[in-house]
């Protein structure tokens, strides 16, 4: 036995092991497609492909299931942009997205300022989160009761308004209902974003807040100089989630603004409601081309806001 043979043996075992690791990696890679395949198939078939189809169909004229789509260039878009119903829907959706979003996040920020130092804050968070597990239809009907205006059967809100001696308000009139929806959105969604933000706040080391305390920082200063920079990434993601959620608002408006059996007045519509009414609602011949164009506008709006948010929120990551 020389040292040469020993070395050779050692090398052989090493190559053998490397070989088996390589073989193992290969075997692991072989399961990749069987594992991803079913999910990918369902995803492409029922979501990716229909999205592409909607884009294609938006360049056609199509009067519903009986007819056939005929290519008509940008006519669907021209028709869509020429319609007042679309403008109303677009405006209201932007109101939900921007005003509702600002309101929700401001409220969430205010709560994170005080909630961290409050006793029982886990319980409070759980209670604030609760509206988020309620179906939007149920929430809408429930709020319909709360804001009901009827001289003999006032809802909870007007019951209280009358109790303090003021004349009852017609909350659900078309001119007001958009703002009632905004309020309801802020009330219901704040809990969700408080929860997400507070989970990020919990990960911030306590000594940073203690240092700030010693330096005599006010709650707002602590928020501005500790919480905000250290939860920046989570806030960005929360903003994206809000955008995705706000674009497709439908049930809440449908139920709150209307009688429930048919669509509410056009001036209260959201884009989600426009799509529903124009394709499956009661009125007129459906125009699938125009509706698909509206669907494309919705997806573009999401992309635009998400890109803008990412641009706005871009910043060096802070390690802690």
């Amino acid at each position: 036995m020389t040292s040469a043979t020993l070395r050779r043996e050692r090398e052989e075992t090493r190559t053998a092991r490397a070989g088996s690791i390589g073989a193992h990696q290969r075997r692991r890679r072989r399961i990749f497609w069987p594992f991803v395949g079913p999910a990918l198939l369902l995803y492409v078939l029922f979501l990716a492909f229909p999205t592409v189809s909607a884009v294609v169909l938006s360049f056609t004229h199509w009067a519903g299931a009986g007819g056939t789509p005929v290519f008509n260039g940008l006519d669907s878009y021209r028709e869509l942009f020429g319609e007042e119903a679309f403008y109303d829907s677009f405006r209201n959706t932007l109101i939900f997205l921007v005003v509702g979003g600002v309101g929700t996040f401001v409220l969430a920020f205010l709560f994170t300022m005080v909630l961290r130092e409050m006793r029982g804050n886990k319980l409070i968070r759980a209670i604030l989160f609760f509206p988020n597990i309620v179906a939007p239809v149920a929430l809408g009907i429930f709020l319909g009761f709360v804001f009901k205006f009827n001289p003999t059967k006032q809802g909870l809100a007007n019951f209280l308004v009358e109790k303090i001696g003021l004349p009852p308000l017609k909350f659900l009139q078309p001119e007001h209902v958009t703002w009632v929806v905004v309020g309801a959105l802020i009330w219901a969604s704040a809990g969700f974003y408080i929860t997400i933000l507070m989970a990020a706040v919990d990960r911030i080391p306590a000594y940073l807040y203690e240092d700030a305390d010693i330096a005599g920082a006010s709650p707002f200063q602590k928020f501005r100089h500790v919480t905000l920079p250290l939860t920046w990434d989570v806030i960005g993601i929360a903003g994206v989630l809000w955008t995705i959620h706000a674009i497709k608002i439908f049930e809440l408006v449908f139920v709150l603004a209307g009688p429930g059996t048919y669509s509410p007045p056009i001036s209260t519509w959201s884009l989600g409601l426009y799509v529903y009414d124009r394709s499956f609602g009661a009125g007129g011949t459906p125009q699938y081309g125009v509706v698909c164009a509206c669907g494309v506008v919705m997806i573009l709006l999401v992309s635009l806001f998400v890109l803008a948010l990412r641009r706005l929120m871009r910043r060096e990551a802070i390690e802690y």
């Binding site: 029922f46 003999t152 059967k153 997400i196 990020a200």
Partner: protein
């Protein structure tokens, strides 16, 4: 997930020296607002539960009172019985439990292997593919509803619970894959390597080692999907036309118009309660897990 391991807790914060604890006016107002908001939510919940046992007159004229009339008549469950039997919520309840249960289990069964493969196998191209799945979260249902509806009516899957089941599974996949890739990525690699050294095949490693490790994440994904699908209304409205196939949210949507017309407010509130209360119970039991899962998805 962290809930089950009480092993490590942060050391208790030392008590501040006396006199250093400041309650500024901002904090006091802030705390008052938080408590008011919380109390308001609880009040609304009380109002909902109480009203579901009331007569319409009691609902509107004594909104804070306890229900009395139906109890005096010896028929306290009158509103629930009306909703359950006359308005079809009983049948819809069974349909929803079966549909949502099947869809939530299926989406996790399909999504978990995909998420594992995307996050742990180190195959080239997994990054773009993961993003491709995640983008799906941003597609509003309204964009795809017409192509789906037309295609489904061609192959007779409209007005079909199986068709809706397929849609629920497929459209829940982006979120599920996103959530679970984050979860699998956070698991330690040692056990996987150990299993490989012991000669376990990749499939066996996944089933015997990784799935049990990921149990917490899988259950969370299951619950969040179940809640989302339980509350889903748009697809149910578009794809179900026959009363016998209605899901709960669909039944509530239809009943809303009719109930208003007939002033059947008691039954309507009971209907709302039938949709909400099961989720409330689930939430009370599993709040930590639901919130933990959502923040895991958003936080990473």
């Amino acid at each position: 997930m962290t809930a089950q391991t009480p092993a490590r807790r942060a050391p208790r914060r030392p008590k501040p020296p006396p006199g250093s604890r400041r309650y500024g006016p901002v904090r006091i107002v802030g705390m008052a607002v938080v408590w008011l908001f919380t109390a308001f939510n609880l009040l609304l919940l009380y109002w909902l539960v109480a009203a579901s046992f009331k007569t319409p007159i009691e609902i509107f004229q004594q909104p804070f009172g306890l229900p009395l009339h139906w109890f005096q008549l010896g028929n306290p469950m009158r509103n629930y019985l009306y909703a359950w039997n006359e308005a079809g919520f009983g049948h819809a309840f069974v349909v929803t439990v079966l549909l949502v249960g099947a869809a939530a289990v299926s989406v996790v069964a399909v999504g978990a292997p995909a998420a594992y493969a995307l996050s742990r196998l180190g195959v080239r191209g997994h990054g773009p593919l993961t993003s491709f799945f995640a983008i799906g979260m941003g597609v509003p249902f309204q964009t795809v509803i017409i192509p789906l509806f037309v295609a489904f009516s061609k192959i007779d899957l409209t007005n079909s619970l199986f068709g809706l089941y397929l849609l629920y599974v497929a459209l829940s996949l982006p979120f599920t894959v996103f959530l679970l890739t984050g979860f699998f990525r956070s698991l330690p690699t040692e056990l996987e390597e150990q299993a490989a050294i012991d000669g376990a095949s990749p499939v066996r490693t996944f089933v015997r080692v990784m799935l049990p490790l990921a149990q917490g994440g899988l259950v969370t994904a299951l619950i969040i999907n179940a809640i989302g699908l339980w509350n889903e209304t748009l697809l149910a409205i578009v794809f179900l036309q026959e009363n016998a196939k209605f899901t709960l949210s669909r039944a509530l949507f239809t009943f809303y118009g009719a109930a208003q017309y007939q002033s059947e407010y008691g039954g309507l509130i009971a209907g709302v309660a039938i949709v909400v209360l099961p989720m409330l119970v689930m939430y009370i039991v599993l709040a930590r897990r639901i919130i933990g899962g959502l923040t895991l998805g958003a936080g990473k």
